[in-house]
């Protein structure tokens, strides 16, 4: 069963307190971020319903929002998610090559997760790091000025962390 710890529930309350009385629905987006972090990196229907119940809103109000924003994973993802930007400015700096390199190194296509559940590869649109391209996001961190060597290092570091 999904349920936040006491500590997290305090955090939830402090999020709700940022808005005027009765406007607690505004906390939905931050709360979904928190739920995604806490409950395995993705939002199951159960998680979404739970979040809705915390805010006193209908499940549909949660689904509408969760499916709109691209940062929410509606399916399970690997432990490490590589989100490589491929919009114009990054493309000009070789993002396609980096994506190709990750694909061949991990043996997966864009949108897939490695069999061991370690890595998921996604392409994303501009992340506001165009001057430091090519780049990708991993969790909350940005990895910029990517090269093949850097990608190797990142993958090795992830494997070592296990």
């Amino acid at each position: 069963m999904v349920k936040f710890s006491e500590d997290k529930l305090k955090e939830v309350q402090s999020m709700i307190d940022r808005y005027p009385e009765g406007k607690q629905k505004s906390a939905l987006i931050p709360l979904l971020h928190l739920a995604q972090e806490e409950f395995g990196g993705w939002l199951s229907a159960e998680t979404m319903d739970y979040v809705g119940s915390l805010l006193g809103i209908e499940p549909i109000e949660v689904y509408e929002v969760a499916t709109f924003y691209s940062m929410y994973n509606l399916q399970p993802v690997g432990k490490h998610v590589f989100e490589v930007c491929h919009t114009g400015p990054c493309m000009l700096k070789g993002s396609d090559d980096i994506i190709g390199y990750i694909k061949s190194t991990l043996g997966i296509k864009v949108g897939e997760t490695t069999a061991d559940g370690m890595f998921t590869l996604k392409t994303v649109e501009c992340l506001g790091a165009c001057g430091y391209a090519p780049m990708m996001q991993m969790g909350i961190d940005y990895r910029e000025h990517l090269t093949e060597t850097k990608v190797d290092e990142i993958i090795a570091a992830c494997r070592n962390k296990q």
């Binding site: 809103i57 209908e58 499940p59 549909i60 109000e61 689904y63 509408e64 499916t67 709109f68």
Partner: protein
């Protein structure tokens, strides 16, 4: 100027009317009636917040108002733009509008399946009407049409997501007629789709109205018997004692059979009074109803009912104000499309009609 001005003057396609302050351009056009009325695929006067989305009702404002006569830089959605005193609007007299509207219709049809022959809505589909008026022969779209996963909404309502034009009317209906939010739009952009959780609110007595507001065949009545082409059925007004709603409906009959029950619609295709699920889905015997007489289906006439009270008949004749052009006639769809060939009796096809079972072999010449 002793009296405060309560009405304003607006001119649409050279016809001037006085309308109450706060009237939208579309409402003002409906007061005039006829060809100056822009088509509206998403706006629904009975649904708060509707409109603005489909962009079929775009018009040109060639003069903003008496006070500020500058034209508006872009075409505006007539359903969501209020009139100003002295405003001049061009709908069918504007080549820009014609051009933009052709574009909008093309966009709406882009991913829309060409399955009119098997669609329950054929014949009363606003998109089909629009397509005939503005569409070109053939599509310029050569890519695969969008598909969605199939969803079963239970015994009453049939959903064909591929036909949906995302007008949001069903969302507003479910939201405004039922006491709990249970219906909405999921995903975004060209993947957006209506939620399939309507089934959860099927216990709500008014949810069936989403069928009547849907301008296309995305939400249809699963209890519609024999899936007939609507033009083979005879609409009659009828009523019954009902505890939940007015009980005033239109029955779609063939012979003595009630094939379908819908709310009564006004000339703009809008429901006059919402009806309950029981009336719509459960009362399929003629004996359930008191028949009043044939439903008058009129679409291009000046109305004087509902909230369009201040209807003023223009003195000019349409032909005169349209620069000699004749007003467009309501098209006989049989004449323009083989798809609607009346000699094809789709009721002969067993079960739910799909494009697979439709072929010319069923054509009885």
């Amino acid at each position: 100027m002793a009296e405060a001005v309560k009405t304003v003057k607006v001119t649409i396609d050279n016809i001037t009317v006085d309308v109450p302050v706060g009237t939208t351009i579309l409402q003002a056009a409906r007061m005039i009636g006829g060809d100056v009325v822009p088509p509206a695929m998403c706006y629904y006067s009975k649904l708060q917040g509707s409109g603005g989305k489909c962009r079929t009702c775009l018009v040109e404002v060639s003069k903003g108002s008496e006070a500020d006569p500058r034209p508006m830089p872009k075409l505006v959605a007539s359903c969501r733009t209020g009139v100003m005193d002295g405003m001049e609007v061009k709908n069918m007299t504007s080549p820009k509008v014609e051009d933009a509207r052709n574009g909008v219709v093309e966009f709406l049809l882009l991913n829309h399946p060409l399955d009119c022959p098997v669609c329950d809505q054929a014949g009363e589909c606003h998109l089909q009407d629009l397509g005939y008026q503005h569409g070109k022969q053939g599509t310029r779209y050569e890519f695969k049409r969008r598909t969605f996963e199939k969803h079963d909404l239970g015994p009453y309502i049939q959903l064909h997501m591929t036909r949906c034009i995302l007008c949001y009317r069903c969302v507003f209906t479910a939201d405004q007629l039922t006491d709990k939010r249970s219906h909405g739009i999921l995903s975004r952009g060209d993947h957006a789709e209506i939620a399939t959780y309507i089934e959860k609110s099927l216990d709500n007595n008014f949810i069936g109205n989403v069928i009547d507001v849907c301008p296309v065949g995305a939400l249809t009545d699963k209890t519609f018997r024999f899936k007939n082409r609507v033009w083979f059925t005879k609409p009659v007004n009828a009523h019954r004692e009902c505890k939940c709603c007015s009980g005033k409906v239109t029955l779609w009959q063939r012979g003595e059979e009630v094939l379908r029950v819908t709310a009564r619609k006004d000339q703009w295709g809008e429901v006059e009074e919402w009806i309950c699920n029981e009336c719509r889905f459960e009362k399929k015997k003629t004996t359930d109803w008191t028949i009043e007489g044939p439903t008058h289906v009129s679409r291009h006439s000046v109305i004087s009912q509902g909230h369009y009270e201040n209807t003023i008949k223009p003195k000019e004749t349409f032909t005169a104000v349209h620069g000699g052009r004749n007003p467009q006639l309501l098209m006989d769809i049989h004449s323009v499309s083989e798809v609607n060939d009346p000699s094809i009796d789709l009721s002969q096809i067993n079960g739910p009609a799909t494009s697979d079972v439709y072929n010319h072999s069923t054509k009885q010449a």
